[in-house]
């Protein structure tokens, strides 16, 4: 292994350590099951390792990882395997079931889940989320607004329990 490979490996290990939790949480929010989320997590880092072009800065790198995670999740949902064997694979995740709010969020329509996660957990602003969801830029502010509305209702519902 040459010096370049060692440097590349160390850089890759740093990125994996930095973003591993973020990718897993995003995938888990979108897919609602840990097994698929771990597959996506593995795929995303495989793609990152193979990605040749340099990133402009850390924010660009993070946004790239978020978009690739989102696209990989969509690919998993669309795959024929998922359609045919959903009953076998979508076993309830005990770990998530113990988390009150997260288990409510993963029951929401998929387009709101990531927006809620990015807004409330990652701390992105509406405009930044629009930039990440490039192709749905015009609809994004509405989605964020609706997501906020949903979370407020869920919050109120939860507090009323």
């Amino acid at each position: 292994m040459g010096d370049d490979d060692i440097v590349k490996r160390e850089h890759f290990a740093n990125i994996v350590n930095k973003y591993a939790d973020m990718v897993l949480r995003l995938a888990l929010t979108y897919l609602g099951n840990r097994a698929d989320a771990q597959d996506v997590y593995q795929d995303v880092f495989n793609k990152l390792f193979k990605y040749e072009r340099p990133f402009n800065d850390a924010e660009h790198e993070k946004a790239w990882i978020i978009r690739v995670t989102m696209n990989t999740c969509k690919y998993v949902i669309r795959s024929p395997w998922k359609k045919w064997f959903a009953v076998i694979e979508d076993m309830p995740d005990r770990h998530i079931e113990n988390l009150d709010i997260v288990s409510v969020v993963i029951t929401l329509p998929r387009k709101y889940r990531l927006v809620i996660h990015l807004y409330y957990y990652e701390g992105y602003k509406t405009a930044e989320i629009s930039n990440i969801f490039e192709h749905q830029r015009e609809h994004c502010p509405d989605t964020v607004k609706t997501s906020k509305g949903i979370t407020e209702r869920k919050d109120v519902g939860r507090m009323g329990r």
Binding site: M1, D5, R9, F12, A13, V16, N17, A20, D21, V23, L24, R25, L28, A35, D36, Q38, D39, Y41, Q42, D43, F45, N46, F49, K50, W81, F85, I88, E89, H95, L99, D100, I101, V102, V105, I116, H117, Y120, Y121, T151, E152, K154, D155, M159
Partner: protein, 74 residues
């Protein structure tokens, strides 16, 4: 605000598995990207179960057909 606080608190409990992290890093180091992922392994198991069930069914039907023919001849 309460939603954000609780959501962040719960999300912080979800952490990536150290073992999987190391596997990914080691795969990259050995240039072995493309090794079967967790999904591939799980799907192969289900695939093997389905394939063996189909083979068993075919065998059962063949034996039964032979048995019926044999009985009919007698």
């Amino acid at each position: 605000m309460k939603f954000r606080t609780e959501y962040v608190k719960e999300m912080n409990e979800i952490k990536a598995n150290e073992e999987l992290k190391n596997t990914i890093i080691n795969q990259a180091a050995s240039n072995a990207i493309g090794l079967p992922t967790v999904a591939h392994r799980r799907r192969s198991k289900v695939g093997i179960i389905i394939a063996s069930s189909v083979i068993m069914l075919i065998l059962f039907l063949s034996i039964e057909t032979l048995w019926i023919y044999d009985k009919a001849e007698k």
